[in-house]
């Protein structure tokens, strides 16, 4: 069952990318900017949780919540300080500022916590105690789930990652569809001017979007390090780029698109590593992206924007 376990690993990795991609796509939809610093907020979230668990001996759940709180505050501060003043500036200027912010976060982390790779502690109970569920068909031991008498193994980490992603997706869909703030966010991404005229607090809505995105980044950081425990100041960089690619892949500005893009990207990456070549897995991922965009130029679920002539 190599195929299935690769598939599950792919979905798990893809879930992490999806959660990161959600942050990129929501911010792009509402502020029309690519927040390059997003990948580094992930890294900060992971570090906060790391210190919470290993230095301050807090409960992992508290650690995650703390990471979310700090990342949310960080995200809002970054938005207010660096992006808000440039709202009317050309998009390239905001892009460069975001790049500068990314450098800032990476180098601050480097100064504070050094470049030494830290090992992220395991959050999942990996005891060798054996627990059985559903009358023995599901066996849990060493942090792994065994189904069908050991024919299929799933790590608890992967399972939890996928579950968290599904929960996030459901909450976000409910939020943007049914709540007042969610509707405000959708209105602002359609037309900021009109939204303002309707009495929507655009500044507050944009800040809220960054806040949500950053909170998601914290969750993603923790989940990423749960599966791949090496933590250093540049940990967020490559997943950030890949998630950004996933967001565009699925159609930038589309929330279901970010989910779809993220998961597909994770699956393609793991399959590429497993069946073609480890060294070329990144190239394969990007090649698939290019092919898809050539066939469907606005991404899988993206909207066609027609220019009025």
């Amino acid at each position: 069952m190599g195929f299935l376990s690769n598939l599950i690993n792919g979905i798990s990795l893809g879930s992490v990318y999806a959660i990161i991609a959600l942050g990129y796509t929501m911010v792009y939809g509402i502020a029309k900017m690519l927040n390059f610093a997003h990948g580094d907020v992930i890294m900060i979230g992971a570090y906060v949780c790391f210190f919470a668990i290993s230095r301050w001996n807090l409960n992992p759940i508290i650690g995650i919540l703390l990471a979310m709180v700090i990342c949310t505050i960080l995200g809002v501060i970054i938005e207010r300080l660096a992006y808000k003043p440039l709202r009317s500036a050309p998009s390239l200027a905001v892009l460069i500022t975001a790049i500068g912010m990314s450098y800032l976060l990476q180098n601050s982390a480097l100064l504070m916590w050094s470049a030494n790779t830290k090992v992220f502690p395991s959050i999942i109970n990996k005891s060798s105690e054996v627990r059985e569920l559903f009358g023995g068909s599901v066996v849990i031991t060493n942090g792994t789930l065994s189904l069908f008498s050991g024919q299929l193994t799933i790590t608890l980490t992967s399972l939890i990652t996928v579950l968290v992603c599904i929960i996030v997706m459901l909450i976000l869909t409910w939020f943007t569809g049914k709540t007042k703030m969610g509707k405000a966010m959708r209105a602002c991404s359609e037309d900021t001017g009109a939204a303002q005229l309707m009495g929507i607090n655009v500044n507050g809505t944009i800040s809220m979007t960054f806040a949500i995105g950053s909170a998601l980044a914290a969750i993603a950081g923790v989940l990423l390090c749960a599966s791949y425990p090496a933590l250093s100041p540049t940990t967020g960089s490559m997943p950030g780029i890949k998630a950004f690619t996933a967001a565009v892949f699925g159609g930038i500005g589309s929330i279901p698109g970010a989910m779809l893009g993220g998961i597909l990207l994770g699956v393609i990456e793991i399959f590429g590593k497993a069946y073609i070549s480890t060294q070329l897995s990144d190239a394969i991922v990007f090649a698939v992206l290019i092919i898809v965009l050539l066939v469907k130029p606005t991404g899988l679920l993206g909207k066609q924007i027609h220019e009025k002539v």
Partner: protein, 364 residues
């Protein structure tokens, strides 16, 4: 209403400034007043200046965001280094070999630009940016899996295997060793060749921009639909800008590679592309002189900060990032912009006022 000066005399003046600068630096070099660290930056800064000018052609003049420019540098670096190594016995003269390496590197990079450009330039805005980023990463990945060796029988290429798998004779020379990159390169890059490359690049780019083709390219940037309606073939001119930009980057790559004995492909990754983009934006889109100055200052800045006491040295990258953010905020702040344009108007009014005082004409 804004008047725009014809800048031919200004251009000639600026070529002169570069030559003067070159002479000054040479003098400082021979008198030993430049530290070793700064000396080591002379060739790389020339490479990055050429990269910035070429990226400016795509981003500033054509108006398309490219996030994979370092990929073309990579192609030029590897091809150029292979060519130079192969020609070592045939052409013993360093500068000549370097020139040939740069030309062939540029050709291959231009070809890569052409192959990539055809599908990519159909895409819009952010999608185009992402695809260029993707291609840059693909090129980096492929370069990391490349094995090239030279022996008595000629050149051997391998992919995803190892140097031994190439089956070469004893005493064969490894040129590219997979993830370890270029090996055992004879360094033939010089500051002089860097300055010459800058001058040639400027000549090509500035002459292209101030010509019929340049106008077509800028028309595409300003208003693609209007350009089509006056009969400008869109793909042709987009490709022209993109391929020229890629080829020049390839030449810069070769110069860069021949400056070190080993070069890893990861040097030409997304971060390198972003670095060049920062230089281009800070120097001003479409402004070639701005690219030169911005690159020169910013590339050297971390090194200059290193000269200070070691406390500040630790924080130099942080300072760099903060400076970058502050500069972006400052140059895009409406209040500051208004201040500068008022100053510009005041200066041009006094200048024209002096000229017109004799004629007694009414001002505009």
């Amino acid at each position: 209403m804004k008047t725009m000066k014809k800048s031919t005399t200004a251009n000639i003046l600026c070529y002169g400034i570069i030559i003067v600068f070159f002479v000054v630096i040479q003098a400082m070099l021979s008198s030993g007043s430049i530290g070793t660290q700064l000396k080591g930056l002379l060739v790389p800064v020339c490479c990055y200046i050429v990269m910035a000018i070429s990226l400016n052609l795509t981003v500033g003049v054509l108006g398309e965001l490219s996030l994979g420019h370092a990929g073309f540098m990579s192609v030029g670096a590897f091809v150029g280094a292979i060519v130079c190594t192969c020609l070592e016995t045939v052409i013993p003269l360093g500068p000549a070999r370097l020139a040939i390496g740069m030309i062939i590197g540029a050709l291959f990079a231009g070809l890569a630009g052409f192959l990539i450009g055809i599908p990519v330039l159909r895409l819009k805005g952010d999608y185009l940016a992402i695809v260029t980023l993707a291609f840059g990463e693909i090129i980096k990945n492929l370069a990391l899996c490349l094995y090239v060796g030279l022996d008595g029988n000629g050149l051997h290429f391998g992919f995803l295997s190892s140097i031994r798998a190439l089956g070469m004779e004893e005493g064969a020379r490894t040129i590219v060793d997979g993830p370890v990159g270029l090996q055992g390169i004879t360094k033939i890059s010089t500051f002089t060749s860097g300055i010459v490359l800058i001058l040639i690049t400027l000549l090509i780019v500035l002459n292209l921009v101030n010509s019929r083709s340049g106008r077509a390219i800028m028309a595409l940037r300003d208003n693609r639909i209007a350009a089509e309606s006056v009969g400008i073939p869109v793909t042709k001119y987009k490709l022209m800008a993109f391929v020229t930009s890629a080829a020049i980057a390839g030449a810069a790559g070769c110069l860069y590679a021949m400056n070190y004995s080993t070069v890893v492909a990861t040097k030409f990754d997304f971060n390198a592309s972003i670095l060049v983009l920062v230089f281009v934006v800070l120097g001003g889109l479409g402004n070639m002189w701005g690219s030169i100055i911005a690159t020169g200052l910013l590339y050297v800045l971390p090194e200059i900060l290193r000269q200070f006491n070691s406390d500040i040295q630790k924080y130099r990258m942080l300072i760099y990032a903060i400076v970058l953010i502050l500069v972006m905020l400052a140059t895009n702040n409406k209040a500051i912009r208004g201040f500068f344009s008022k100053m510009k108007d005041a200066i041009s009014r006094t200048a024209s006022g002096r000229r017109k005082s004799k004629g007694g004409e009414q001002g505009e």
